[in-house]
Symmetry: C2
Subunit: 343 residues, 2 copies
DNA sequence: CTGAAAGCGCTTACAG
DNA sequence: CTGAAAGCGCTTACAG
């Protein structure tokens, strides 16, 4: 069942069983320290020596033990991506991009889910922080002070959130929101409502601000409804408030809420978009699938994840890439959930 | 920018900065080895000594350095979950359950994505394998030999796949498939088609077998279409083949393919379910959202992920839980994509 | 019950 | 250019 049988007889030597730099040193006739140099500092050794050592290492299929390497250097070559909820479709893209950027730099990405409240999240992070070189915090619910505290110990980059002194990457909402409002106005809408997510949400606040100012710029009436849970259920629950307002179009904080509005509207016999236009944010999987397809403001989250990892890497001192300076933007995806305002 | 400034003067002592067992030993007036015992083997020491040490450790907010601990023990307290494609909605549930079970045992879960072909996957695993205590392989495309080879080095558990000598967890398809066929037959369908996923897919083969035998048991005609990509596009591409057959109901290898069939049917003016009933597998996010809602056979994937991790843990020798022996099953979710067979 | 020592597999000043 | 030594922070036989 367990592998304690095969080498059981001999005094527990070499727990791992994998070849070490000592094996290579022996076969290559050099000191272990020389092996270490050959493998980590190309060009620092006599070319012939280095080549010989590399050949032996390759023959033995040697891979340096990451733990052993981490002890003296303090570098684990591991990054943490912390998300509140893995099932939130928004994090998919982030994971994708972060994974890609990390792998490219030879880093391993640990994805930690913090489920609960900000406190539990802080504890989770505390646990994982000690074994990584840096962290990317996405969809975090932590308080600013907690973020600042952990950022003082390890390089941290935030996604879609800002805290003083901590670098962050957040696609700018303005372009997409502006296009959305323009789209609605051209359809004849003169009163738009915003359905906010959690009041503590940095992202919700930014989206709301962008929407309000885009409407004001066009002298279109804009109302802000009562905040709700950023889920399908949260959107469903908001329908009465929406119909109570006289808005002809409602913009949900995210696609999930917008989906909830659409579903509740259907159940209530309100036709979307004939009687009510609905739009959301994020363009998650499912937004294109539902009927009517959801009009939404999307961002390249994979790129955000990638960018965030590259930034941590740079702050760690593993700066390969020079680029990454173009601004990340949002754009509008028009589908069938928005249409001409009812007359 | 980097933290090389603060302690720059003194010869680089304590790269980490975090308290060590030596700090605790000093403050508690004991030997470091005693600290180690107090913290790892409760009850082995004089109660007063242990209490004193624990108090100091708590006061210093001490957390053992995982790397340092891993070196002598060979235990990293980390598990890897390897998936081919993170954006595949099916893996969501698996991640969820695996994460939960790992966290509960104090283990960290590393999620590795292997994107490409089986070869790249094998390389990815090779890299990550050395720093984990065990692996869970889900949605893997690796060849049996590769699986066997890695399983020889570390405890491995497969999800939805079987290989000789390697433990696996796979919800049994029969109950759900049987209910699906019963459902279709009761709607008057007498000719059902199965749209397979990749020919190499273990899961697709099992689903096909279950469907075929459930149909034969009821003396209902069943046809197997040509295999296709397990994506929405793959389902769309299969529409001609479906209409060419005289089947009145088609069962896709997974929900994505079924969604593709539904969309292509709509585009072709074929009404679902009036003219064609469509069903899938997995009940992914989006299946309930699309119109018509997708009838599908679902399994508790979170439970599968949880079970898989518990099994690795047991094989590692961290067996807490005794349970986990009830069989995992599938069940039918009826929505609007299936209806009476056209007359 | 606890101390002293050796060792896990690396890296990196320090010599030569 | 390369060797010998010390050390990263733990664990664990071995003594006493």
């Amino acid at each position: 069942m367990v592998d304690s049988s095969d080498l059981a007889g001999q005094q527990r030597r070499r727990p791992s069983g994998a070849p070490t730099i000592y094996d290579i040193a022996e076969r290559a006739g050099v000191n272990p320290s020389t092996v270490s140099r050959a493998l980590n500092q190309p060009g620092r050794l006599n070319a012939a020596t280095e080549a010989r050592i590399r050949a032996v290492a390759a023959a033995l299929n040697f891979h340096a033990n990451p733990m052993a390497r981490a002890l003296p250097t303090g570098r684990t070559h591991t990054l943490a991506l912390v998300v509140a909820d893995i099932t939130n479709p928004v994090v998919f893209g982030i994971i994708r991009g972060a994974e890609r950027a990390a792998a490219e730099a030879g880093y391993t990405l640990v994805i930690a889910e913090s489920q609960e409240s900000g406190e539990v999240e802080a504890a989770t992070i505390e646990r994982v922080a000690q074994s990584v070189d840096g962290l990317v915090l996405a969809t975090t619910r932590m308080a600013d002070v907690d973020i600042t505290r952990i950022a003082a110990r390890k390089p941290v980059v935030l996604i879609n959130r800002a805290t003083d002194g901590v670098p962050h990457v957040a696609p700018s909402v303005e372009p997409g929101v502006d296009a959305l409002v323009e789209h609605l106005v051209s359809l004849g809408h003169r009163h738009i409502a915003f359905l906010p997510g959690p009041t503590a949400s940095w992202t919700s606040a930014r989206r709301q601000d962008a929407l309000v100012s885009a409407c004001q710029r066009r002298a279109v009436r804009v109302g802000v409804l009562e905040a709700s849970t950023p889920t399908i259920a949260g959107g469903e629950a908001a329908l009465p408030a929406i119909t109570d307002s006289t808005a002809t179009a409602v913009v949900g904080f995210n696609d999930l809420m917008a989906m909830g509005v659409v579903q509740a509207a259907r159940a209530a016999g309100i036709h979307v978009p004939a009687q009510l236009s609905v739009a959301g944010f994020d363009d998650i999987f499912g937004s294109a699938l539902m009927v009517p397809g959801l009009t939404t403001v999307r961002a390249d989250l994979a790129q955000a994840g990638e960018r965030a990892v590259m930034t941590v890497l740079r702050n760690i001192g593993v700066s390969h890439e020079a680029g990454g300076e173009e601004e990340l933007v949002t754009s509008l995806v028009v589908r069938q959930s928005t249409g001409p305002a009812p007359v």
